[in-house]
């Protein structure tokens, strides 16, 4: 599903150049549940941004579901983000003036799907994440866990190839973190590829594969102990 070969990325700020990714080689198959771990500054956010087509890379090859993702125009990037990728963020990033349903339905707006149809699909997904009764509420009326579930529903609505989650439990307490991870596992159980960036070991431990990053390279690619039979 995801194929990375020799991905390099550096940021130029003024006269200094910061080499963030120093040759990432990674293959993530369909239906995997992967966590990316590493200390801050290790390049894991940059990696996620590149995977999510929010940022470009300097050299190497990135193929998503077989499509080359090099030097995309803004328009192409927007198209692939919309069609192939579902984002879940630490700070939820819901639009505060839109109801839960409208937030979930938003990606379909950019696919020119009719209002009626996309709201129907959004309500179905909200039901799946257990928020049917909260469909008309604004994000400000929801708890953190509920907000993240709305965000996950929004990521799922386009039936993407991969879900990219950036510290999805970072703003949640351990109990709600658990609930959110359950949803990710359930989604993954239905065949969805999920990549979670986290620094929490409990979260990583619930995934099927942990990729450890340090100083711009993958230092370890392992299966969590608890799952090892």
């Amino acid at each position: 599903m995801i194929f990375l070969q020799n991905i390099e990325k550096s940021y130029v700020t003024g006269h200094q150049s910061l080499h963030v990714l120093k040759g990432i080689n990674l293959r993530i198959g369909e239906g995997e549940l992967v966590s990316v771990m590493g200390p801050s500054g290790s390049g894991k956010s940059t990696l996620l941004n590149i995977l999510g087509l929010l940022d470009g890379f300097d050299s190497g090859t990135y193929r998503l579901a077989g499509n080359p993702m090099h030097k995309l125009s803004e328009k192409q990037g927007a198209y692939y983000r919309n069609q192939f990728i579902g984002f879940v963020f630490q700070s939820f990033n819901l639009l505060p003036f839109k109801s839960a349903t409208e937030n979930v339905a938003l990606p379909l707006y950019y696919q020119k799907i009719s209002r009626k149809k996309r709201n129907m699909m959004a309500e179905e997904l909200l039901e799946r994440v257990g928020l049917r009764d909260w469909a008309t509420h604004l994000p400000s009326e929801l708890s953190g866990g509920q907000k993240q579930r709305v965000a996950i529903a929004r990521a799922l609505i386009t039936k993407p190839k991969v879900i990219l989650a950036d510290e999805p439990t970072g703003a949640l307490d351990s109990k709600t973190s658990e609930e959110v991870m359950e949803i990710f596992k359930e989604v993954n159980g239905k065949g969805m590829t999920v990549v979670i960036v986290t620094h929490e070991n409990q979260v990583a431990a619930e995934t099927k594969r942990i990729i450890r990053l340090n100083d711009g390279i993958i230092v370890k690619d392992e299966v969590p102990q608890s799952i090892v039979p």
Binding site: N49, G52, L54, D55, E74, K75, A78, Y79, R81, N82, Q83, F87, F89, Q90, S91, N93, L94, L95, F97, L106, P107, Y109, Y110, Q111, R115, R154, T158, D166, E167, G170
Partner: protein, 415 residues
């Protein structure tokens, strides 16, 4: 295509910032409103002043005889130049640009009476063509015609003032055919007129027109003419005609060509054009001021849109991450900007137009007012509204580009 969702987005944003949007709207509203008012009052002032020209052919000039001031061909200065009937024919044949020739003789304070009613008015000996130069509304009967001249009839066309003094209790149709006395000589009334020049109506309506040759006979003036009114062809410049007529008459009366005092000349066109250009100036001024205030309003919109984009950075970042294409973001901002300007512009246009129409319909007609019938050309008004909307696009352009350039990574970075 009508995109309901986008409209909903726009009204949602406008609704979230009612006060700010309202104040911004006011800027553009005021700009267009002022433009309408300026254009309306400009045209009102213009129409008021131009009304003074409605009684006269604006492409005409006048020539009359005076005393010479330069010796010429053996004549001493100080000789009086006497214009004559045969100058009429000379002007007609020699001057290509002249369309109508109206020679006139006049005498003021002439006693007139009808039965017991009497008064003192102005007699003018005229030819029928004078009606093309001095415009009057003959509201009853007829004006002088060729037969009146041919038969040297004792007929008269009387001004409204004269009529109301001499025939105070009679209906207009009764007066026609009655004989009144001018300097003791009976004349038949064949018509009566009102002046079209509202400013000078009091004076003009004291005039009594009689045939030129009747006048010459009555006052024993021979073939003398006091004054020539000349109307130029529409495509001929009356200003040129004025000089040509002066030179022609100078030659015919042995006047030195450079002796400008020997023949008095006047020109309505010159005056008319002076005022025309004054109003062109006022019009330009009004446009500059109006467009200026409109521009200030548009800059206000642009500013507010920039703030809006800044405030919505995160939202735009989210939209982009979810797959919003650049054009979708740009059109969102542009459409908002255009909507705001259109609503504000339309209200300003509508109220400005209405106010002008209201003033126009409640303004007294005529009188000494310098302000008359303010009007805004509807297509001009519509064009300025269109221009405002175009301005809305331009006002939204920079903010929209800023919005499209927002990087989702930057805007979504967790604080």
């Amino acid at each position: 295509m009508f995109d309901f969702d986008k409209w909903q987005e726009i009204f949602q944003t406008i609704g979230r910032n009612k006060l700010r949007t309202g104040l911004t709207l006011f800027g553009v509203f005021w700009g267009l409103f002022m433009l309408m008012i300026l254009l309306g009052s400009g045209s009102g002032l213009r129409n008021g002043v131009m009304l003074g020209f409605s009684g006269i052919n604006t492409n005409s000039c006048f020539v009359w005889g005076r005393r010479t001031t330069m010796p010429y061909k053996g004549f001493q200065p100080g000789r009086f130049v006497r214009l004559r009937n045969d100058d009429i024919g000379a002007i007609r044949t020699k001057l290509k640009g002249v369309q109508y020739v109206a020679p006139r003789l006049g005498r003021n304070a002439v006693p007139m009476n009808y039965k017991e009613e009497s008064g003192s008015f102005f007699v003018r000996g005229d030819l029928p063509d004078v009606k093309y130069i001095i415009k009057e509304d003959v509201y009853q009967g007829r004006f002088l015609n060729a037969l009146d001249i041919k038969h040297r009839r004792k007929v008269c066309v009387i001004g409204h003032r004269c009529r109301s003094v001499l025939f105070p209790d009679m209906e207009p149709e009764e007066i026609i055919g009655k004989f009144m006395k001018i300097q003791g000589v009976p004349f038949m009334v064949i018509g009566m007129f009102k002046s079209l020049d509202e400013d000078d109506a009091d004076y003009d309506e004291k005039i009594v027109h009689i045939p030129l040759n009747t006048f010459q006979q009555m006052y024993k003036m021979g073939d003398r003419v006091g004054w020539f009114g000349l109307a130029a062809f529409p495509d001929y410049d009356a200003y040129v005609l004025e000089t040509e007529a002066r030179l022609l008459l100078a030659k015919r009366h042995q006047v030195h060509p450079d002796d400008k005092n020997a023949l008095g000349t006047g020109n309505v066109k010159k005056e008319y054009e002076k005022i025309q250009s004054l109003f062109s100036g006022i019009l330009i001024f009004n446009w500059v001021v109006g467009i200026g205030s409109l521009l200030a309003g548009l800059i206000g919109i642009s500013n507010i849109m920039l703030i809006t984009v800044k405030e919505r950075t995160k939202e735009i970042g989210i939209r982009k991450a979810l797959g919003a294409k650049p054009w979708s973001i740009i059109s969102l901002i542009l459409q908002e900007s255009v909507t705001i300007t259109f609503i504000a512009g339309f209200v300003g246009f509508f109220l400005g137009f209405m106010l002008t129409e209201y003033i126009s319909s409640h303004l007294p007609k005529g009188g000494d007012s310098m302000f008359y019938n303010p009007e805004i050309d509807f297509s001009t008004a519509l064009a300025s509204l269109g221009l405002t909307v175009l301005g809305g696009v331009l006002a939204g352009l920079i903010p929209a580009q800023k919005a499209a350039a927002i990087s989702p990574i930057e805007s979504l970075r967790t604080e």
